[in-house]
Amino acid sequence: MASKVSFGTLSYRIAILSLLALVLGSLASLAAIAFIESVAWLNDVLLISPRSRVQVQNPLLLSAATIIVPMLGGLVVGIVIQRYSAEQRPLGPPDAIRAVQLRAPLPSVRSGVVSTIAAIVSIGSGASVGQYGPMVYMGAIAGNLVSQLKLPIANLPTIAIACGVAAAISTAFNAPIAGLVFAHEVILRHYSLQAFAPTTVAAATGYVIANIIFERPPLFLVEFSGVGHSYEFALFALLGFVCALLSVGFMRLIFYINASAPKLPVPASYRPALAGLMVGLVALQLPDVLGIGTETLRFATIEGAFESWELILLVVAKMGLTAVCIGLGFAGGVFSPSLLIGILFGAFSWTLLELIGLPNSGVVVYAICGMMALTSPIIGAPLTTILIVFELTHNYDLTISAMVAVVFANLLAFRLLGRSMFDVVLARAGVDLSLGRDRALLEHTKIIDLPISNFFRVNLNDTTQLVIEKLKQDGRSEAVVVDSKGVYQGIVRIIDLLGQDSNSISANLHMDSPVFDEDTTLWQGMSALEGFVGEAVPIVSGTDATLIGMIAESELITAYQKIAQGLRAEENEAV
């Protein structure tokens, strides 16, 4: 394959791809840093962060802010999203995945920017939602913008989005390898060298910008000296299973609230404010639920920072509030809340071990295992999760332990719900990636969009003789029959008409042929063709049953092959 490309073209492509990756890496990384900084600033100004809250002398002001800020934040988010976003919902990783997997355009830049602003306001005002989803989407926006350049590179839009996402994750977690793997595991879902190389460059660029230029501190340094007892690995696996159950329960809760939200007697614009009010009320008693909870995350790794009951209370509160916030329309991700819920639950599991007096290696490893095992099924990326642990903690023993918990969590959660929350969201929106990307693409391609062949139409009232003559004249073997209003009636074949006495063709109508409508997908079409013997299949309007056209069987097969070959080519492309 490669030998067909001249050296000059090859160098040109490599240069363009590298440059593209550098530009995208910088762009997405700077955007991610700006995002994090804006959120931190808002958290300080709006009295969400503990550091700002403790400096307020007036307790009344603090209580008022606790309730009013998330509520007003919700109001702003609701109005902004409903009024200025075409989709009228926050955008996130599922939209990026959809665009890449289906080779479809991303939602408009305007919607993306609106969604990003809404996410900053959401997290900034203390809503219980995460920052990584919006950052991933910002990376995708950057990729989308750059891919508008008309560069002679195959699969440019997909690669560009993957680069943006890789750089965003790389910057956000200070974890370039995790960024690179995330882009492949979640967004691209294949490992072609053509995409791998620029994604790596983008992830490294993000890391350099975050680490060297801005000197951002490592996100989560913990001290851990190793697993003391071999039986603990079984405990990690067990913890993985339990976290999978929690994780699935958490996702189902989000879906449930999301589905029930329209039944509320509150217009969509005001629903986030309602969620904000609930956050504020709970935060009066449990300030740990406000915002991203970096402090709580740290406390969970300190022995004795929480009582067992506090941990369980916080797990329940954080799950409920996150589901409410996301379900009612705050803009933000589930990743950071999952980290928090997981680490609290991991710490809780450790307190149980202490209770029964089982010798163990301390709270840190259980907290980290819980954190990752609960999060991994949600993003559907076990490899990324394991690498994040490695890059965040720089600790090999912790990584191995978390790895065990993560894979078991993923195994169970996959069976119970699906590959990830993103995939379930997409499947519910009609993009089912669970049976492979080709199936999703086939299901996404409408037959009506394929070239519709010339077809031969006769009227139901035409005489047999007339139809035979028309068919002979045109050299065809079959015709589609409509009535006077153009409504599809069936198909007649010349072979049936020849030698017939009856003047009417109605006796010889074939009505067993499959019939497509405007919504029939290529996947459905291909399935319907099983056992089909004719030349072409009629496409009939779904509303008034009038005939729209005929699609030749060969067109269906050609379209199918084109998609399959395109995917193979993309997934095996070098440069």
Binding site: S49, V54, Q55, Q57, P218, D288, F299
Partner: protein, 364 residues
């Protein structure tokens, strides 16, 4: 208009100052911290100031906090910690200063705004030196393994013996959380929560029976020397001074907390600022700041002063290596968040004294 204004005000400061100095013996009362720090200031700043201007300097012992500003004997100038200075400014107890007119340019002619490090020029004062609060130990107490990390201060088993701590809710809270594995950039975030405060005090509980409290900054070195304690918190300059006098003291730079001292001018009725401005201008001149750092290893806040620090007058060792901000001291250093300190004073006192009182109840 502008050049005229500046030269006019400069003349106002100096001409008037020298006139009144001739007329009568003027004195300034400076509140400062006593001990080796004050004697270093005496040698490096106060005596030369007296010799240059003829204004007499009296010192008044000061040991922190802003109560001094509300009492009867309010000095002319106070050498305050940054958090107290911010608090005093917020409560309008000290003057707002037009530092650009008061301070001298660097010897290279650089304006103060560019020569002082960022954040040193405050609305109500000028941060003039950085000092470190850290743990030091008596080498004689540990003939074998020496304490090296801040966690060792809390490790009674490996390093037995009494520990001296300042009876104040500062530094120990940060150290307690450091030993829980909290990274430096999260210490104040975590101390901002009720949980963090609780954890810090819980850590102190572990060593409660081994604590000796001190108040005056000159006590730690004395406590170590007299073997009353084996480790003590204290200020790096004082410990250094004890070392130069032959004490067997070693400082643990791990977990050191760096803070700033600030010159502030109290609000006093019927006061003219001629002499105080003269003083501020003199003591913040690069050469003078560098000279102070040669006597005691506290880091000047001016870049031009940092470049001029030479040898210790007696020991003839390079003083630059002994500053809190020397690169080899910064591996695990915490820069105190003075604003946070100022705003959480009541809370910290509340929690700390609540804890102290619970100890006493426990003992009874």
């Amino acid at each position: 208009m502008k050049p005229f204004n500046i030269s006019f005000s400069l003349c106002f400061i100096f001409c008037l100052g020298s006139l009144s100095a001739q007329a009568e013996q003027q004195t300034l009362t400076i509140a400062t911290w006593g001990g080796s720090y004050e004697s270093a200031q005496q040698k490096a700043l106060f005596s030369p100031f007296e010799a240059t201007t003829g204004i007499q300097i009296n010192t008044q012992f000061y040991n922190g906090e802003i109560a001094i500003l509300k009492g009867d004997l309010v000095p002319d100038i106070i050498d305050m910690t940054m958090d107290d200075a911010l608090l005093a400014c917020e409560q309008n107890l000290v003057q707002r200063l037009e530092l650009s007119k008061i301070l001298a340019p660097s010897p290279d002619g650089l304006e103060p705004e560019k020569d002082f490090i960022a954040g040193a020029l405050l609305p109500c004062g000028v941060a003039h030196l950085s000092y470190s609060t850290l743990i030091a130990y008596d080498d004689r107490a540990f003939p074998g393994e020496k304490p090296q990390r801040i966690a060792d201060f809390f490790d009674i088993k490996r390093f037995p013996g009494k520990r001296a701590l300042r009876k104040q809710p500062s530094a120990i809270l940060e150290w307690a959380l450091m030993t829980e594995g909290v990274p430096m950039n999260q210490i104040y975030d975590l101390l901002s929560t009720d949980r963090g405060m609780r954890l810090a005090l819980r850590r102190l509980d572990n060593i409660r029976d081994h604590i000796v409290w001190w108040d005056d900054p000159k006590e730690p070195a004395a406590l170590l020397k007299s073997r009353q304690v084996v480790m003590s918190s204290g200020f790096n300059g004082r410990f250094f001074d004890a070392q130069t006098r032959g004490d067997t003291i070693t400082m643990i730079w791990d977990g050191q907390i760096i803070d700033w001292d600030v010159w502030v001018v109290p609000l006093k009725p019927k006061q003219t600022n001629v002499a105080t401005n003269k003083f501020l201008r003199f003591v913040t001149q690069s050469e003078n700041m560098a000279r102070l750092a040669e006597h005691i290893p506290y880091g000047p806040s001016r870049l031009s002063a940092l470049k001029r620090i030479g040898l210790h007058p007696q020991k003839k060792i390079s003083m630059r290596d002994h500053l809190p901000t020397a690169p080899h001291h910064l591996d695990r250093a915490l820069f105190r968040d003075a604003k946070w300190y100022a705003r959480t004073l009541a809370l910290r006192k509340n929690r700390f004294w609540g804890w102290i009182n619970s100890l006493q109840v426990g003992e009874n």
